[in-house]
């Protein structure tokens, strides 16, 4: 059946479309900022899920693509004067290219070896950028406040950045669905279950994994550019934070890996919870402890993630909750 006739295809898209649209209509800055954080992690977690969820390859250092792409995009817009849209796509393209080159080597590794290698790549990228003159070395780069004038002033620039992120998130969800339900995606899922058996059955595992790695690296590059443009500066310490990689993994696990809706649910729940606890008068001094406890309980009792749990309990919903 054609994918556009599937409820499972439309459900996440409609939810994100309505939510982002409501933010744009309401035009409230506080809501926009909260939505930006959640959408950013939703798109990052969904990108990671394309690799982690469909091939089973755990990338602990996936944030490297956010950092490298962000740096490249920021360089293109601040030093070369590219418009934000093109610079972001340029950042994504560079991330994809790096993933292609790195993937050819590290995707030969499996399990814990691959996971460790991805951490090493992140650290190597951080060290490289800290010494790379055109990217500002250890001090990074910044844009002058007047750079926002091109986009109608800082206020409008923040709305433009949000709109671009919203569209990017929708595209990530479409790509995630299409990968999952394609012949190519079935090959990936076969790799996830048993890579050797998949190869025997005719799946070209190295090529399939590399393509997946490139797809999952492209979007973090775009998101990194948007995030650093919004902040007005980029420096190595902010671009390659390993804890963000771990958080992305947690969000995918929380929502349900290997599903389109899962990372979306995981990111919303995780970031929504953190945002509430941080600003709650009761929990604001205990937010890390409370968040940790809730996560522990979920992972202990709902290991398949929220979407996986619902799909397991209510088979009728399997077509809807992809």
């Amino acid at each position: 059946m054609k994918f556009w006739r599937q409820t499972g295809f439309w459900l996440p898209l409609v939810l994100v479309f309505l939510w982002g649209g409501a933010v744009l209509v309401l035009r409230q800055d506080t809501i926009r900022e909260t939505a930006f954080t959640v959408l950013m992690f939703m798109a990052l977690a969904s990108s990671l899920n394309i690799l982690l969820g469909y091939t089973g390859y755990v990338s602990f250092g996936h944030i490297v693509f956010f950092g490298l792409g962000g740096y490249t995009g920021f360089y293109l817009l601040s030093e070369q004067g590219w418009p934000l849209y093109l610079a972001a796509v340029g950042g994504g393209a560079l991330s994809g290219l790096i993933a292609l080159l790195v993937g050819l080597a590290v995707l030969r590794l499996r399990g814990a070896y691959f996971a460790l290698a991805t951490i090493g790549i992140n650290e190597a990228a951080r060290a490289f950028v800290s010494n790379f003159g055109p990217f500002g070395g250890a001090t990074g780069m910044f844009v002058n406040f007047s750079a926002y004038e091109k986009y109608g002033g800082a206020g409008q620039a923040l709305w433009t950045t949000f709109t671009f992120l919203w569209i990017t998130t929708l595209v990530v969800l479409v790509v995630s669905y299409l990968v999952k339900h394609s012949r190519f995606g079935l090959g990936l899922q076969a790799i996830r279950e048993d890579e050797d058996a998949a190869m025997v059955m005719g799946v070209h595992a190295p090529r399939a994994k590399t393509i997946t790695y490139v797809i999952s690296a492209f979007f973090p590059g775009i998101i990194g550019t948007l995030y650093f443009f919004k902040n007005g500066n980029v420096e190595p310490g902010d671009a390659f934070q390993l804890h963000m990689s771990i958080e992305m993994l947690v969000m995918v696990m929380l929502g349900g890996m290997g599903t389109v809706l899962g990372p979306m649910v995981g990111a919303t729940a995780y970031q929504g919870l953190r945002g509430y606890l941080l600003t709650s008068p009761i929990f604001k001094d205990l937010h890390l402890a409370v968040a940790g406890l809730i996560l522990l309980l979920i992972i202990l009792f709902v290991p398949a993630g929220a979407v996986g749990w619902v799909r397991g309990r209510i088979p009728a919903l399997r077509k809807v909750l992809e």
Binding site: T30, G137, A138, F142, V143, G153, G155, P236, D238, Q241
Partner: protein, 420 residues
Amino acid sequence: MKFLKSCPVILLAVLGLLLPGAVSSALAAEKTVVIGFTASRTGKLNVEGMRQINGLNLWVEQVNKAGGVKLPDGTQVKFVAKDYDDESKKERVQELYTKLISTDKADFLISPYSSGLADAAAVIAQQYNKIMITTGAASDSTYKKGYTLVYQAYTPASRYLTGALDLLGKLDPSAKKMAIVHEKDKFSTDVVNALKAYGETKGYQIALFEGYDSGTTDFAPFINKIPPGVDAIMGGGHFADTTTFAKQLYEKKVKTKMIALLVAPPEPKFAELGEACISVIGSSQWEPLAKYSPETAKAANLEYFGPTVADFVSSYKGKFNEDPSYHSAGGYVAGLILQKAILKSGSTDTAKVKAAMDAMDLMTFYGRIKFAADPKNHGLQVGHEMVYIQWFKDKQGKPKKEVVWPETGKTASAFVCPVR
């Protein structure tokens, strides 16, 4: 009689006419100003962040206790601080500052701790036309971005170690050769780049200029590269690496006239190095030993504003049961700057307070406060000077720190690093 009977009625009528005015003027006489900021209550910057909050909260308490700030129209301005935890991370800083401005109706802002986080907050402050005083954020670059409402309380990173070079010139005019070994992060790199440029203009030969990665614990490769006969070794980064570097310089018996390092030497914990800390010089934004007073202000032809050093130290110790660090002083002085600007402008209006900030030039317990008003560096701190401490031995042979620079604030004269 009839008149007497109607007297109370007339009296009440008169009171009725007067009271609403009196009540409304009494109500108008008090205004609460919300100061918003995010603080690193958790995460890697929580020690510095908490001290900064303590300093600011102490100022809020003291200024309100003293009746607030009285404006020319009789309005008594009181202050309330509203903060959220940024977890020492940049991710949510813009979101939280937007919330502070839009939801909590913050009138003025204080920056988060550290330059990276302050940079993210500055975009929001400028966008919403709010004055933000940065404290704990030393990077120069923030003030070169075209902001008009962001003001720096700290001495900028570019002047963190330049005073040590001036001190070296005074200590030994023949000194001409120096080595710089520094952590490769934004702050330390900013500091040493400026130090190198300053050294070169002063005719110093930079015999070694090397960066090390954050978290380095073995400095032998860097120490071995230091050429013999250097007059000064400068650099370092943050507490852990700088302390280890100082220790290994001592163990390797490196001969030099001056060792001046970042961040770690002013910390009391640095004394745990014992002999290795003796003679090491460190730069600090402020020290309880600093001699800023109404007298030094008068000598510099400046107005003195706020508590004395002794008053600040004793009130801080009394409230928090610990010695104030320069982070605490930075938090307090951010509030003090705002207080003075509101007092001077006689208003809480952003444009008027900004004009007062631009024209500000005064002395406080923290030192001199003056901001660059030119568009290229607007808000950059140009008045405040770093304080340089050096570790001495007291009569019992225990390490003891003294302020050795600037001349006006010193408590002891610096000495050349002894042969180890």
